[in-house]
Amino acid sequence: MNVFTQMVLVIGRIETHSVQMLGTGFLVTNDGKIVTTRHVVGNNDKNLVILFPHIAKINDYQDTTDTSCKPIPVTIVEADPFRDLVILKGDINFTGDLPIISSFDKTIVGDDVGIFGFPHCVEGRRVLTFQKAEIGAKILLDCNSVKSKYAVINTQSRPGQSGSLIFHVKTNCIVGVLIGAFAPMEVGAIIAGINPRELHQTTHCISAEYIKDML
């Protein structure tokens, strides 16, 4: 489990005197390639950074008052706007063993998956959080007539979790990347900045197999 504290990272953008945290990403190669969602980084990599891990062990207490961080510049090296994935590259040399990148093809509905990400990081809270959920369904989602494989996992997500790592408990492989939640595009009432339609226990994750072609 502790390997995830070193490979799951906050993605951010340097502003005048601070770093705006944008979401989650994770290392996929030892030479510093990181995957996250395209919507987390937007269209360009100006001032884009990852934050160096702030804990060594998942069981460590994470000090929420500690706002210090060590940003490492990254650039966008690959982008798939249809699957909402990007590969970033930073000057990072990771010597540990990274989990194998697999696919939702290797899972069955009902299997447990683990999720590592930074919920609420966009609101300034940096807490690497582990969640467990079941695969509720395997689905094909369309983007401009290109269909891709996704899983619905039975958990609710919040801002900051986009780009989270989804691993298959049975095989310890990375099987997906958290993208977002189902919500019809017609905008209804927004209450205190929250769209009530996104408040449900299901989250969409793209199959990790698409990462392999990008490396």
């Binding site: 953008r13 969602t37 966008i76 706007p81 249809f82 909402d84 290109v146 189902f182 072609d213």
Partner: protein, 159 residues
């Protein structure tokens, strides 16, 4: 600006792309013509009916990108002075000449539009193949730029 590629065939040009990009272009080209594929590629933003949790709002509306991309692509390939600084790189001879052209155009236009080159390189490939169907001179004839550097490259034509 003076470059000619050996081939403007999409099947040749797309060899400069990564597997995931080639697969997407193949899928789009099996359903649409090149112009429509360019539009679709630039407007892609992940799966429908999915609310993102985090990120940068700068990639919200892509429609302006389509026109701006086309404008900048035309400027580049038709010799506009805005891209003068990028041309010497393109003129370099290399075994991977088309790769250099595609990378140069992608990074130059990307810098202008605030887009990562990785996002637009497949669209550059599609646009070059479109240009190849009519020839660069004919393509640029209606763009208002002069290609011949001896005639003050990139200046507006008198109308």
């Amino acid at each position: 600006m003076d470059f000619e590629l050996e081939s403007y065939d999409l099947n040749v040009l797309k060899n400069s792309l990564k597997t995931y990009q080639i697969k997407i272009l193949d899928e789009l080209m099996s359903k649409y013509d090149t112009e429509k594929a360019i539009e679709i590629y630039l407007s892609a933003h992940g799966p429908m009916n999915t609310v993102p949790f985090g990120g940068d709002s700068s990639c919200a509306d892509t429609q302006p990108f389509l026109k701006r991309f086309k404008d900048e692509f035309d400027k580049f390939v038709c010799g506009h002075p805005d891209y003068e600084q990028f041309y010497p790189k393109v003129k370099a001879t290399s075994a991977n000449y088309s790769n250099i052209i595609i990378a140069s155009i992608s990074s130059a236009i990307g810098a202008k539009l605030g887009l990562s080159a990785a996002i637009i390189s497949p669209v550059v490939v599609l646009s070059l193949s479109l240009l190849g169907t009519m020839g660069r001179k004919a393509y640029c004839a209606n763009k208002g730029y002069l290609m011949d550097s001896s005639k003050k490259e990139g200046t507006q034509k008198d109308t």
